[in-house]
Symmetry: C2
Subunit: 419 residues, 2 copies
Amino acid sequence: MDVELITIGDELLLGFTIDTNAAHLARELASIGIGIRRRATVGDVAVDIVSVVREAIDRTGAVITTGGLGPTSDDLTKPAIASLFGRGMQLDEEHLAWMEQRWQQRFHRRMPESNRAQAMLPEGATKLVNQHGSAPGIWLEDERKRWVAMLPGVPREMRGMLADTLLPILRTRVAASRAATVVRSRTLRTTGVAESQLADQIDPIRDRLGPIALAYLPAPDGVDLRLTIRGVSAAEADTALETAAHLLREHIGRSIYAEGDTDLASVVLDRCRALGLTIAVAESCTGGLLGARLTAIPGSSDVVLGGIIAYANSVKEEFLDVSEAALVKYGAVSEEVVRQMAEGARARTGGAVGIAITGVAGPSGGTPEKPVGTVWISAAFPDGTGAAQLRLIGDREEIRRRATQAALELVRRVLLEKN
Amino acid sequence: MDVELITIGDELLLGFTIDTNAAHLARELASIGIGIRRRATVGDVAVDIVSVVREAIDRTGAVITTGGLGPTSDDLTKPAIASLFGRGMQLDEEHLAWMEQRWQQRFHRRMPESNRAQAMLPEGATKLVNQHGSAPGIWLEDERKRWVAMLPGVPREMRGMLADTLLPILRTRVAASRAATVVRSRTLRTTGVAESQLADQIDPIRDRLGPIALAYLPAPDGVDLRLTIRGVSAAEADTALETAAHLLREHIGRSIYAEGDTDLASVVLDRCRALGLTIAVAESCTGGLLGARLTAIPGSSDVVLGGIIAYANSVKEEFLDVSEAALVKYGAVSEEVVRQMAEGARARTGGAVGIAITGVAGPSGGTPEKPVGTVWISAAFPDGTGAAQLRLIGDREEIRRRATQAALELVRRVLLEKN
């Protein structure tokens, strides 16, 4: 079963908004065995909406749109698509009453007149409940079973409605169709190993992975290995993916830090939690990014004590006991200083693990000896301290992100040896 | 002049990769007066590539594709589009020699055989130089002046080729066309004021903004006001936008913190720099996010000293001199504690401004008195300390981001009064 996806909005087309809805929908639909054949984006222009939806209906007969259901005057989607089905618009009294009540309760004032448009629905439409906003989604279907589902464009509302309402409907349809095949994927995440090196390690066993597409996806965090299988039943897909993932783990297991979209910070936190270790950070060039990444994980407070953003040298000395002598002799970006930072973070906070980063994130500040991208990382444990120098590429944002990733990987590798 | 944009790749269609290329292209093209009428995405399937490109050529006659130029076996774009123009493929000896030399120089080994495909070009194609990778871009044009420009999918390569090669070509074409009109936008950024409240303030002067589309764009950082004008010359557009922006600044100037995509952190840094003030942060629930945001700005080191990630209460006491009594009596999420954190950050680092955040970011940890989203922020200055309680909505990530935004806005508002 294939659908086409149409995202609507000037903001998307003009490039002011990145289209994250399309990716989310694609992943969610794939997980229940629905493929997206094509995706299109048009602006808030009725004639363009009509033509792109018409083409998709003619081609595939199953269309999901996002956007253009809001209260503003550029709300064109509903009447445009209704006209395509030969339907007029009519006021949904029930929804109007619900909206008026909601405004009274939430904002303590009368609903603005402009919001009435949200209660206008195509004749014969089915409402899709929106628990996260005021515009209902719409399901329109003709006598030939061709359908269009219209979802809101606000990501939070779209995601809620998809999960609450549309996916259950589609799941039922998929189950009813005879030969449901799926597209399923698994992602194994690696970091610190070059794509070509991974390929050299995997090539000898490539044939044993079976009918699975293997994609190498390089990104600042490392290379993700995406395994994808299509055209088989859900059970067959899961078995084939499990077998392939197992084989890869046997061969390059140490390089794989997680599956799916799990962040390395989460892996390190889990490992520390299991070992009863707490963490303190000491950050210079990353300025809090490592701490922010660790504490982005819910429940991190039982492992992360906090740490020091030691951007200025005075803070390195005052809060981390970095010696002035080391700063003068070796400079702030040096093995001596990063080790003192990591050990200082441990000693001063009472944490078990100290993680430190200092480097030249650019764009300025580089020298011939320490060009932009030169970063020292260190991890201090109760039984010793390790450090490594990195030569990172990319802009300031990438260098900072790569530095946090490398520091976390250093900790993960050390913890792999500990019981 | 309109073009259509087609992004190609299974990863995009499956939703594993967010399509940032499309947005970047749209903005860059708009800036030289080229509009995007439609955008489409298809997977690495030759028949789909052919049909979507054919439709776009028939409709608009000007098409830009991204993706599918790489060395891997799913490289289908070039031959698919060549077939549409009735062209075969031929080896470009010059490019092959260049690639082989590049491999020797950069990787010190022979180029893999699989890379030869990158040197196969459609007959009669013009190469677009790629300074950031090995796949050249391609320009194909027929006798009716209909054209397709094929760019690589890797964002860095695509952006480089666009700037270096394609934009100059297109700029020449736009200049040659008689009545070049543009689409231009300006964005005024506000935070801490609800969309409806902004609308109430702007409505009385709405008619005086002239022939400009005004969009309210709510996001976790606040509401951006986007002014867009289209169908006029570049000079007319700039004048109209300047007049409208000036009028808005007259009426709601205090609420506008920046233009374009400038981050509030950058505004605060500039203001502090002008006043000779340094900053230190004290972060609990945001765990380093405020520091990371401030230090993401190049050149922040002359203002930001650093600070304390005071996630655990022991760190609040040890490094910020927060009193145990206040923690016990009021709890870590309280006005007393946030003020002590901000003042402690100042006092302990010697910074002029201390900015503190403590709150319940969720998803757990909420209580009836302090539900998830309860956040206290504080800004301490040499002449006094301010604090505010926030009730933020959204998930953990949004709450943390909103908390840093509100803290920065608190500082900005105070600094507005200072000379």
